[in-house]
């Protein structure tokens, strides 16, 4: 719901400014003029904006202090200042040259390949085992599955050891992601060795990615700093 002020004064700065420049449609202009006829506040606001615009328009145009005509030697001499052409950003990007492009490609490669490998082996989760369900999923599954709990995977070695020692591990909650009996053999393969290998590989990979990223950022920062210094000492 709009606030009472906005209801009483439905025209904002943008409408008033556009009205001064004749940018409102005839219908909008008529509505605004009707409102102005009865609203002193908006009328004064408009006059103040008009005074600002008049003041800006009255600023004199200074003559050029000298001729800016280019001399042949200026045109031929290479400039070290930052590019200011219509596509200045593209020029700035290309100024980093092949080194920058190669570094960016390398980083992209590591990120993409790293993500891919991480997905394949990083989790240590064999195919067929679904990720842990959320609380909501588990609740819904419990409701749906009713009293018949789905088969649960065999406990991990650590859990088995704890059970053997008599500690109460607790009964696992019925799991939504638990494999169906048909899937069970593959899904319930002991994860032990493969999981550890996957974990180690993932951390090596993450470390490598981190180092590559840090090296890339350091190289880019050094390049920017060097170029800026060059531009300032031109």
């Amino acid at each position: 719901m709009r606030n009472p002020f906005a209801r009483r004064h439905p025209f904002g700065e943008e409408e008033l400014s556009s009205y001064l420049d004749g940018q409102l449609s005839p219908a909008e202009s008529a509505r605004l003029e009707e409102h102005l006829a009865s609203c002193e506040l908006c009328g004064r606001h408009l006059e103040e904006l008009r005074a600002v615009v008049d003041g800006l328009r009255a600023l004199p145009s200074a003559p050029a202090p000298r001729s800016f005509a280019l001399r042949p030697e200026q045109v031929e001499a290479p400039t070290r200042r930052a590019p200011v052409g219509p596509d200045a950003w593209a020029q700035r990007a290309s100024a980093f040259g092949p080194v920058g492009v190669a570094a960016a490609a390398l980083l992209l490669f590591f990120v993409l390949v790293g993500v891919d490998l991480g997905t394949l082996g990083g989790k240590g989760a064999p195919e067929g085992v679904a990720p842990a369900p959320s609380v909501e999923e588990a609740y819904e599954a419990g409701q749906a599955l009713g009293a018949a709990p789905a088969p649960t995977p065999a406990p991990a070695p650590a859990e088995r050891a704890a059970t053997d020692e008599g500690e109460k591990v607790g009964t696992p909650e019925p799991s939504v992601g638990a494999p169906t009996p048909a899937e069970a053999p593959a899904a319930m393969a002991p994860p032990g060795a493969a999981e550890e290998e996957g974990h180690a590989g993932r951390w090596v990979l993450r470390g490598f990615q981190g180092a590559a990223g840090a090296a890339f950022l350091a190289a880019m920062a050094a390049l920017v700093w060097q170029r800026r210094r060059g531009a300032d000492h031109r």
Binding site: S17, R57, A58, L59, V75, D87
Partner: protein, 200 residues
């Protein structure tokens, strides 16, 4: 309002073929406007001269990329980029603060038409000084929009072409810029209308 003049087109074509004399004829035509844009953006004569020279040099080097329709809009876009770069460069190495009170040598350029009486002259000069100080408080995009539309008299479409922005964005930047100027001048008591209490 300002389509590419036939003379501009001929000179642009010659410049694209490497004719420096033809390009310098374009410089003569537009140097006042380019210089004024840079000066209003930067408010320092020396900085404005640097940006103007850089803009023409860059325009000459990139003129083969110009495809039309308006050479003036294309050139003013380069000048705006040069002014914004100069602004950033000076902010990194502030020898003279761009927000400092304007010196008499800078305000001297705002001297109005001498045919106006001395009192009128003094009043306009004072008003110009406040407006220039207010302009310096605007963010660069709003400052550029307001300068192009209100000081240089470009249409909204031309401002959009210079800034590479849509009409809606131009409208919004101009109105926000004007609103900020209004507030700035009101807070300093420079905009109260006769017989009225200013709106806050």
């Amino acid at each position: 309002m300002h389509a590419a003049a036939p003379e501009d087109s001929r000179l642009v074509t010659l410049s694209q073929e490497g004719d420096l004399a033809a390009f310098n004829a374009l410089v003569e035509t537009y140097q006042r406007q380019v210089y004024n844009l840079c000066w209003r953006m930067l408010s320092l004569r020396e900085a404005a001269e640097d940006a103007t020279q850089e803009a023409f040099l860059s325009a000459y080097r990139n003129i083969r990329q110009f495809r039309g329709p308006s050479f003036r809009a294309w050139l003013l876009r380069i000048a705006a980029n040069a002014a914004i770069d100069e602004l950033r460069r000076r902010r990194r190495r502030p020898q003279v603060s761009l927000e400092a009170p304007l010196s008499s040598s800078e305000t001297a350029l705002d001297l109005p038409d001498p045919s106006a009486g001395p009192e009128e002259c003094a009043l306009r000069l004072e008003q110009a000084r406040h407006i220039r100080a207010a302009l310096l408080t605007l963010p660069p995009d709003q400052r550029l929009s307001v300068i192009l539309a209100d000081v240089q008299g470009l249409s909204y479409e031309e401002v959009g072409r210079v800034m590479g922005s849509s009409l809606g964005t131009v409208k919004s930047r101009i109105s926000r810029g004007r609103a900020r100027l209004r507030r700035y001048l009101l807070e300093r008591g420079e905009l109260s209308l006769p017989g009225q209490r200013p709106i806050q």
